[in-house]
């Protein structure tokens, strides 16, 4: 009775409960890889935030210096304000447009299908390409608008919001379109029998039914607004002055322009804490974690 066939039969005999359960060690390559390239660097960022390092030689411990400097830095407050403002305004702009376009595109008319295919095109360009496109189109000597849009605080801010929307609305429209198509038709039929009109149906059926979709989309938008880094770097370089220097840009400047990696790490750590707190808050507020069903009571 040697081992191989017996174990084979043994696992089969134990039946369904243990069928196809791979050893937990299978997760190791993925976990180790992710830990090495994402989790460990985060821990390292915390460590570096207590050091002084210009990129050459070894980091020198300096205690709380970077943190004291960061918390008394006027630019941090300014940067935080801009980051939050940019996130909120972008979220509102993108949600309203994507929701309306997505619900509209969920209809199955031929013209809607064609327009949806065109609406998706901006998403095919990289953020770099899109930032460059608007950098060119907003050039006062060349572009469509013959004004120094990016030279004014308001103009630069609105340009970043618009460019972000131009790029990401196609994707979120797609999410809302998928969500709207999953709303059971019977709900609308019932509402129609009760005499509810189009707008009443939109507010009483479509919107509540899209709750989970809206949460997914909003989380992606808010976490994604941190990646406006490219847009800021190419369009405004944080300007005019430091008026559009969002947190990631502030960190980039401290690290890769002033070679003050310790200070940059303090900003990075602050960014992680802020991003995590924000995600947790969102999950709490929206009940995303519990994933309540929208089919309740049906």
């Amino acid at each position: 009775m040697s081992s191989t066939p017996v174990t084979g039969k043994g696992s089969a005999r134990q039946g369904g409960a243990r069928a196809g359960r791979p050893h937990a060690a299978w997760v190791l390559p993925g976990v180790l890889f992710f830990t090495f390239f994402a989790v460990a660097p985060m821990a390292l960022a915390v460590y570096l935030s207590f050091t002084k390092w210009n990129g050459l030689g070894d980091p020198q411990p300096v205690g709380l210096d970077n943190w004291r400097r960061l918390l008394s830095d006027d630019r941090l407050i300014q940067s935080l304000t801009i980051t939050v403002l940019l996130t909120v305004v972008s979220w509102a702009f993108q949600t309203v447009v994507s929701l309306l376009l997505g619900v509209w595109a969920a209809g199955r008319q031929r013209n809607r299908a064609i327009l949806s295919a065109i609406f998706f095109v901006p998403f095919l360009l990289s953020s770099t390409a899109i930032a460059l496109l608007f950098y060119a189109l907003l050039d006062p000597n060349f572009g469509i608008i013959r004004q120094d849009t990016l030279g004014s605080t308001k103009g630069a801010f609105l340009a970043i919001v618009f460019v972000g929307g131009w790029q990401f609305i196609p994707f979120h429209t797609l999410i809302y379109q998928g969500g709207a198509r999953q709303i059971p038709e019977v709900l609308y039929q019932a509402a129609a029998i009760d005499g509810a009109g189009r707008y009443r149906q939109f507010f009483s059926i479509t919107l509540p039914q899209l709750r989970n979709t809206a949460t997914t989309s909003s989380v992606l938008m808010i976490v994604g607004s941190l990646t406006y880094f490219e847009t800021v770097l190419i369009l405004t370089q944080g300007g005019p002055g430091t008026d559009t220097a969002i947190l990631p840009y502030l960190m980039y400047e401290a690290g890769f322009k002033s070679y003050d990696f310790g200070y940059a790490s303090a900003i990075a750590t602050f960014l992680v804490v802020a991003a995590t707190a924000l995600s947790l808050l969102l999950v709490r507020l929206t009940g995303f974690g519990s994933m309540r069903s929208t089919r309740e009571g049906m």
Binding site: A19, G20, R21, P22, H23, W26, V27, G30, V31, F33, F34, F37, A38, V39, A40, P41, M42, A45, L48, V97, L100, A106, Q109, R112, A113, L115, S116, F120, V121, P122, S126, S127, T128, A129, L132, F134, L137, F142, I144, F171, H172, I175, G178, G179, R181, P184, E185, Q189, R198, S217, L220, V223, L226, F229, E230, P248, G255, V272, A275, T276
Partner: protein, 299 residues
């Protein structure tokens, strides 16, 4: 979006009322809505005008572009700008990007598929902990780790190589990929595993003969998602590479800004060229691309 991209909802509603006439279904999905139609036309203009201005300007020679109204078609269209871009390393950058995208997709699949399989099937403390690690990992912004990663990559002697871009890009594509894959894997029924177990199949055989074939939808979503992450990646190449050798497309475009200076038509030509490969994929495989992306948000 074509009718058959997401056929389920309509089909699901049909069995309840098989005799319902087509008219019944019209009232929401087929009824015209003039106000929404107008809104969609406005958005169409917002989408089309910049693209049109870009293509038109990229066909204008540099000396004519200055002071030329970007909305008017070029009077003497020329391909010179495209020539300039192609002679400034565009092909090389494109090739690097293709290499990075292929390597990232391969790495993500090899690492994430077994991981998702264990997370769904093997309910031990450690597999649960691994899954939560990736759930939390979604909140790590890439910007937050570039400084320490820069230090690590320098120490590993990977600075200024394609690997320096590939490895972290793959790691940061993993959390969402794991989520998508576990979502799809949960739909494989217990009976199928049991049937294969009766045949004496090992977990490895089940991975290849059951799990992978049954999660094709999730896998294609992950391929689309991670390929796009690699294709659009800017921060890692910006910080971890320097020379022309390992320069990827996004960084190549960024460098054209200083290289071409005021030659905005050439800059726009490079933007157009950078969009063509993905646009070609979109034309050929729109359904799976769009379906794949819908999967990112939809699950």
């Amino acid at each position: 979006m074509s009718h058959d991209t997401l056929p389920r909802p309509v089909k699901a509603a049909e069995p309840d009322r098989p005799a319902a006439p087509a008219r019944r279904r019209r009232h929401w999905t087929r009824r015209a809505n003039p106000l929404a139609g107008l809104g969609s036309l406005i958005w169409l203009a917002i989408v089309i005008i910049p693209i049109y201005a870009m293509i038109s300007a990229s066909l204008t020679s540099q000396d004519q572009a200055l002071g030329h109204n970007a909305l008017k078609p070029p009077t003497h269209p020329t391909l010179d700008n495209y020539n300039t871009v192609l002679h400034n390393g565009f092909g090389h950058f494109l090739w690097n990007t293709v290499l990075v995208a292929a390597a990232v997709v391969a790495l993500v699949l090899v690492l994430c598929v077994p991981l998702a399989y264990v997370a769904v099937r093997t309910r031990t403390f450690w597999s649960g902990a691994a899954f939560r690690l990736f759930l939390l990992g979604i909140a790590i912004p890439a910007q937050a780790v570039v400084v320490p990663l820069y230090l690590m990559i320098a120490k590993l002697n990977l600075y200024d190589s394609l690997l320096a871009v590939i490895l972290p890009t793959a790691a940061f594509a993993m959390p969402v990929s794991v989520l998508i894959l576990t979502g799809t894997l949960r739909d494989i029924s217990e009976e199928l595993y049991e049937a294969m177990a009766l045949d004496g199949a090992s977990p490895t055989r089940m991975l290849f003969q059951l799990v992978i074939p049954m999660t094709k939808g999730g896998i294609s979503t992950v391929v689309v998602y991670s390929a796009l992450q690699a294709w659009n990646g800017f921060l890692f190449p910006l910080i971890f590479t320097q020379s022309d050798g390992p320069r990827v497309l996004t960084l190549g475009l960024f460098n054209y800004v200083s290289q071409f200076g005021v030659n905005i038509p050439a800059l726009l030509a490079s933007v157009v060229l950078s969009g063509i490969p993905i646009f070609a994929v979109y034309l050929v495989a729109r359904r799976s691309l769009v379906g794949g992306l819908m999967g990112v948000g939809g699950k």
